[in-house]
């Protein structure tokens, strides 16, 4: 059981995260309706692109950052059995993040920051959008510092002992975030802010895109690691078994950290400002980082199988039926893994050096990342919320069955919505359009898929509303209980120093980052580049 401060920190962060999630789902629903072209009165590019930008920022930056911070405080205090270090600093970081979100929200909602969540210079947003986004990142660095200090203090107080797995992974994520957010921070401080404030007239778009790519892929692992923590540390127990191997779990987290950081370039495959050789190098790295994901899939499935057999499942597939499907954590894990497999297949196509040209910037891409992010990652976030909410509020979960309905709804809706997107992508439909204006026979073949997309969106919105309702009802009207939640299994077996700390890995990352980004960034200072001026709103 955590102390009151940790509980409050976690709850305050989770409220912002899940509030943003609920709101973002309404924007998403509007987008599928607008995009389908079925309702003429909804058609408006201005509203659509403002909505896409807001949806993306809320989901990818607000939901994730606040969830990860809240979950991190909880995990650190729980697994290390000590209070959060320097709660004042934690609250200060929270405040900076909240101010950032508010500052960014105003221009977003007014349509003055329709630059989508990847910013896209030389289209220029209102300066408060850039300031707000920067503050959100800076505030999250407070959290990183607290996590790493707690990690170091515990190790100092427990010489020769192995850091519990959940904290090892959380510290890896804090490091990953510090490393990767540096790219977008450099872009923001040296390019976007001076330019939006009018201190400089032009912006080097090639450099801006390269710096953003530095952040753009590892950020996905920043979102994914908490989901993996739940898969490794909560799911085996919830299924009635135990984790297959602690050492390989650590190895997977280290591999994600080391291999995940220097590979963002594959987002630039179709860009003219980077040479083929560098793209090729990053392609190899991109494929390598699939290894820890394959390991994770295997470990979690193996842990589930052990649990299923222990509960009397026999035969090749009998253990699957014997699993406790009515446990939200177990159900979420199964659905998550299914979507990870489907999304992973699409990811291999995206990552392919030449095949990417067929699907680049088409509806295939949001199809892929909605499966991975909204599917795999968010589903595990939802399951974590169901597990932690009763403990954080000291109340029983409002309903036992509705969470299952909600999770199934999220899965079914996601499959119905993303399948047509994959098909539309292969048929060439661009991802970032509000409606189809091309006077061409090709576009007639797109129509039927748009109806399926709307149905999927409706199911997803219903599921999201049910989730927020369940959290609200639990907190407001749930039966009061003395919370007794079994702690995650944090008895760690022996692990060597290189799987119990990050000194070696940090050095290796430094070398890999210098190799993979050194010249590609330097070239903008060696070449004669021409920077365009701003195109504002």
């Amino acid at each position: 059981m955590n102390d009151a401060t940790t509980t409050r920190l976690t709850l305050f962060n989770f409220w912002v995260a899940f509030g943003a999630f609920g709101l973002a789902c309404f924007f998403g629903m509007y987008q599928v309706l607008e995009r389908s072209g079925l309702f003429a009165f909804l058609q408006s590019p201005a509203v659509y692109f403002a909505s896409v930008s807001t949806h993306g920022v809320l989901m990818a930056f607000v939901l994730t950052t606040f969830f990860i911070m809240g979950f991190g405080y909880y995990t650190a205090a729980q697994s290390l059995r000590r209070p959060v270090w320097n709660p004042q600093l934690a609250w200060a970081g929270y405040g900076v993040c909240v101010v950032g979100v508010v500052l960014a929200a105003v221009p977003l909602l007014l349509g003055k920051a329709s630059v989508l969540y990847t910013f896209y210079p030389p289209i220029q947003a209102n300066v408060f959008f850039y300031i707000g986004a920067t503050l959100l990142v800076v505030g999250s660095w407070f959290w990183c510092a607290i996590m790493l200090v707690m990690f170091a203090q515990w190790k100092k107080d427990h010489p020769g002992e192995t850091v519990p797995l959940p904290m090892f992974a959380t510290a890896a994520n804090a490091l990953l975030w510090l490393w990767t957010s540096l790219g977008v921070a450099l872009e923001s401080v040296f390019q976007l802010l001076p330019w939006a404030l009018g201190l400089t007239d032009t912006i080097d778009v090639g450099l801006a895109r390269t710096l953003f790519a530095w952040t753009l892929h590892p950020i996905v692992y920043f979102w994914l690691i908490p989901a993996y923590i739940a898969l490794y540390c909560y799911v085996p127990q919830a299924a009635g078994g135990k984790l297959f191997s602690d050492v390989l779990a650590r190895t997977a987290f280290v591999l994600i950290l080391v291999l995940g950081l220097p590979i963002g370039f594959h987002h630039l495959y179709m860009d003219p400002e980077q040479a083929a050789g560098w793209k090729f190098l990053h392609m190899v790295g991109t494929f390598a980082v699939a290894i820890p994901t394959l390991l994770t899939g295997f470990t979690v499935i193996a842990s589930l199988e052990m649990a299923g057999r222990r509960q009397g499942g026999t035969g090749l597939f009998g253990w699957i039926g014997a699993l406790p499907w009515k446990n939200p954590m177990v159900l979420a894990a199964i659905l998550s893994l299914l979507m990870l497999v489907l999304g992973g297949f699409g990811g291999i196509v995206n990552a392919s050096y030449a095949m990417n040209a067929m699907v680049h910037n088409t509806a295939w891409v949001p199809g892929h990342f909605h499966l991975i992010f909204a599917g795999t990652v968010v589903t595990m976030y939802l399951a974590v919320a169901y597990k932690l909410w009763p403990e954080l509020c000291g109340r029983k979960l409002y309903s036992e069955d509705l969470p299952l309905v909600q999770l199934w709804g999220w899965f079914i809706g996601m499959v119905i919505m993303t399948t047509p997107w994959h098909v539309l992508g292969l048929l060439g439909q661009p991802r970032r359009i509000s409606s189809v204006q091309y006077n061409s026979v090709l576009t007639l073949s797109w129509d039927p898929y748009e109806v399926a997309m709307v149905i999927g969106g409706l199911i997803l919105l219903g599921s999201a509303c049910l989730f927020v309702y369940l959290l609200y009802k639990t907190q407001a009207a749930g039966e009061k209980v003395e919370a007794r939640v079994e702690a995650a299994d944090d008895s760690a077996p022996w692990a060597p120093a290189w799987l119990n700390g990050f000194a070696l890995w940090n050095r290796l990352i430094l070398v890999l980052m210098a190799l993979s980004y050194g010249y590609p960034i330097l070239q903008f200072f060696l070449l004669k580049t021409h920077s365009p001026t701003a195109w504002g709103y």
Partner: protein, 198 residues
């Protein structure tokens, strides 16, 4: 700080230590096998890509070439009267097509090219970020202001192909497309001058 060069003894000690650590690690036999399978699987994918890239020379558009987007209209290559399908083929027989991307169209708005012939597209943006894609073909590239995008494609079958902008470039982005007509090799005639198409 004094740098100590590792000697043989140091190396042996390190290796012995590592060996002992490895033997203490608890890794399940099955999991160890799966690790090898994963690595082999990824190796196979990368191998297949290396072979196609090396054997068929398939590379993404990666022509690191800069240009001043603000003065495209004055440039040697992207002035208005030099756009479109070029009258003279390149030395290797490929056709060259020059396009300017700007909100909201590719200029010239219509081009006609022969089927089955290697076509080298050269494109530059006059304002913001754009993307060019001819659906269901590999003709795809980002068009980043300040850079020339070069992409090579072959269209095997005659027909009408739209060229769509696939990167968000402003509120009129939905309307940004141009018409590419592919005609049979024998029906195609080279334009007399650039800039006027078809």
């Amino acid at each position: 700080m004094r740098i100590r060069f590792p000697d043989k003894k140091w190396f042996h000690e390190k290796m012995a230590g590592l060996g002992e650590e490895m033997s203490r690690l608890e890794i399940n036999e099955l999991e160890r096998k799966w690790l090898f399978v994963s690595v082999a699987m990824i190796g196979l994918f990368v191998g297949a890509i290396v072979v196609t890239a090396a054997m068929h020379g398939v590379h993404p558009p990666s022509h690191v070439e800069t240009i001043d987007s603000a003065s495209l209209h004055l440039s040697q290559e992207f002035a208005e009267d030099k756009l479109g399908v070029q009258p003279e083929p390149l030395p290797d027989g490929s056709l060259q097509v020059r396009l300017v991307a700007g909100r909201y169209g590719f200029y010239p708005r219509e081009i006609e090219v022969p089927a089955g012939r290697r076509i080298v597209f050269r494109m530059a943006s006059m304002d913001v970020l754009h993307g060019a894609h001819i659906p269901m073909t590999n003709m795809s590239t980002m068009i980043v202001p300040g850079y020339v995008s070069e992409v090579v494609s072959v269209f095997p079958k005659p027909g009408e192909y739209p060229m769509l902008c696939n990167e968000y470039c402003g509120l009129g982005h939905d309307h940004m497309w141009s018409k590419v007509t592919v005609v049979a090799q024998e029906n195609w005639r080279a334009p007399a001058t650039g800039g006027k198409q078809p």
